[in-house]
């Protein structure tokens, strides 16, 4: 006990420096976690979070048994994320492996600079451009289709294209920047290993397969785990920008639904229950996958 106090005393300036950060973390990260109790309450704005009456599991029974929207948004969320896992996730890996093959330093720099760029503009700006590209009649994409003899397609008004558009624009905006962690791992590989492989007569594919990919496998695992942890979470902004009300049946995801119904229609408790379900499933997924990774591949996040 005494040594404890002594250490705290010794570290008093460190604690002082830590204080504001911890305060903000408690206020804006942990307090909202506590606020999740309204998922078990019948929240009324007048009574506030603490004084509202308890409702037990009522909100959960409601979303699971009487709210068909719930299954729709969970299905949309999972479908979009599965597609992203299948197509968006491998793209930065492929791109990074390709960039790693480029020999000219300036060419490499130029390519990197341009592929990172879309990441740094907002979804509003990028989505706004996508909307213009895809607009029927005047958009560049439909102009191309028409030039090849096809007829104009109203991309953002038809349900069957929406999920594809979400994945493609996700790759377009994010795949370039996504390469950065892989490239940083690739620069850590000793160039002599590549030299040795070359002398042994290994071709391009062989060196990529036997040297580059093993060199980034740790990074792949970490990012894969994080991606799986975000399985229940489709970014709000991309959907909010691209998804018009006529596309809600395919494009409405948990975050946009919670915002619209929860705050828009003041159904706080019900949507907080949806949010808690989302966060809890996300946490469970990442914990389970982390354990699997640790047992089978000896790699883990923590």
């Amino acid at each position: 006990m005494k040594t404890h106090l002594k250490r705290i005393r010794r570290d008093k300036y460190l604690y002082l420096m830590l204080l504001p950060g911890v305060l903000f973390m408690l206020l804006f990260r942990y307090l909202p976690m506590g606020g999740l109790i309204i998922a078990f309450k019948d929240f009324s704005l007048r009574k506030g979070i603490w004084k509202s009456a308890w409702a037990g599991m009522e909100n959960f029974t409601f979303i699971f048994t009487q709210n068909p929207d719930f299954y729709q948004i969970v299905k949309n969320t999972l479908e979009i994320n599965l597609l992203k896992l299948l197509f968006s996730f491998p793209m930065p890996i492929v791109l990074a492996l390709m960039i790693n093959e480029v020999r000219g330093v300036r060419l490499k720099k130029w390519i990197q600079t341009s592929v990172y760029l879309p990441y740094f503009v907002s979804w509003v700006v990028f989505g706004g451009i996508v909307i213009q590209f895809l607009s029927p009649g005047t958009g560049i994409v439909n102009r191309l289709i028409q030039a090849f003899g096809g007829s104009s397609i109203p991309f953002l008004q038809e349900e069957r294209y929406f999920k594809g558009i979400v994945v493609v624009t996700d790759i377009w905006k994010g795949a370039g920047w996504g390469t950065i962690l892989y490239l940083s791992a690739l620069t850590g590989i000793d160039p002599e290993i590549y030299e040795a492989a070359k002398i042994d007569g290994a071709g391009r594919l062989k060196t990529i397969w036997h040297i580059s990919i093993p060199g980034i496998s740790d990074t792949i695992v970490v990012l894969l785990l994080l991606q799986i942890g975000a399985m229940m979470d489709v970014g709000f902004e991309q959907i909010y920008v691209l998804c018009k009300p006529i596309l809600y049946s395919v494009g409405d995801v948990i975050s946009t639904y919670v915002y619209r119904v929860g705050i828009g229609n003041a159904q706080f408790s019900m949507t907080a229950a949806v949010g808690l379900f989302q966060s809890a499933v996300g946490l469970t997924l990442i914990v389970i996958c982390n354990r699997i990774c640790r047992t089978f591949f000896d790699k883990s996040l923590w």
């Binding site: 570290d11 420096m17 973390m25 804006f28 390709m98 907002s122 909010y240």
Partner: protein, 287 residues
């Protein structure tokens, strides 16, 4: 003398594919630029492709007269400057403390930070907390929630961990306390890393849409991104254009506003992008 290596077919293929993707990544920005300066009528009929068609600054004149645009810009500027200053200050202090191996609370507080990455309260509790704190419809709603960011803190921890212990020890022998060591030694030594985080935070603030949508109702406080999305989605262009100017089409005004609002990023990006890269490269290796 330089030896000319034979360029293989597979190498050509890789470079061509990468150049194509680079082109696709630049294309959107080029396209909004040429659209914004093209003749609005040509734009409306879809006759603008890869190069400007006709020339008109009419839409710029309208946009730059628009009060709501300036208000959005001002709100975004304020939140970006204040949010970045506050965020960098607090995140770097937090990270420095968590990077000190001798610090007793290191394990506990680090776990506390990581847990906020794995689990969060979500939209509704966040909204209600903001309401309880009476922060809705204030500029603080756009600044305070973003002050603490666990990802940045973890990244900074790995930078500060690289500051050699010997520097700290010798400063302590000279009688310096931890505050002095941080502000006089560790922070100046980690300038490139702090620069990286500074840029991250400011780009996030500039581009952030969601908090403006959720926390701000008052027109006066709507940040640029919210103004933009209202312009793009709800086509609130009509009330910007007077009947005498109606040859300037909505499309032309939208492209102009989009272009103007990403201009700061486009102009600064070439100069600062090495910081983004350097920062991640140095921090990312250790995961």
């Amino acid at each position: 003398m330089r030896k000319r290596k034979k360029i293989s077919l597979s190498y050509m293929g890789i470079v061509m594919a990468l150049l194509l993707f680079s082109f696709l990544c630049i294309l959107p920005f080029w396209y909004v630029f040429i659209s914004s300066i093209s003749d609005p009528l040509k734009l409306r009929t879809g006759d603008v492709r890869l190069f400007p068609n006709g020339f008109s600054m009419q839409s710029y004149r309208i946009v730059l007269k628009e009060r709501r645009f300036y208000r959005g810009l001002l709100v975004t500027l304020i939140r970006t400057v204040a949010g970045t200053g506050l965020g960098l200050f607090i995140q770097s202090m937090t990270a420095y403390v968590l990077s000190r191996k001798s610090f007793g609370g290191r394990g506990f507080f680090s776990r506390m930070v990581v847990f906020t990455i794995l689990f969060n309260g979500g939209i509704i509790p966040n909204y209600l907390i903001m309401q309880q704190l009476h922060l809705l419809d204030t500029i603080w709603a756009l600044i305070l929630p973003m002050v603490f960011n666990p990802w940045n803190v973890m990244l900074l921890v790995s930078f500060f961990a690289a500051v050699p212990d010997s520097i700290e020890e010798s400063a302590k022998l000279d009688g310096a306390n931890d505050l002095v060591i941080f502000f006089r030694l560790a922070a100046p030594l980690s300038k490139p890393a702090l620069m990286t985080i500074l840029l991250y935070i400011s780009v996030r603030h500039w581009n952030e849409l969601m908090d403006g949508v959720i926390y701000i109702n008052m027109d006066r406080l709507k940040p640029l991104q919210v103004y933009l999305i209202e312009l793009i989605m709800r086509s609130s262009v009509q009330n910007m254009v007077e009947p005498s100017e109606n040859f300037v089409t909505a499309l032309s005004i939208q492209t102009t506003v989009i272009f103007v609002s990403c201009l700061p990023i486009l102009t600064l990006y070439p100069f600062v992008q090495r910081f983004f890269v350097k920062g991640i490269m140095a921090g990312g290796v250790k995961g």
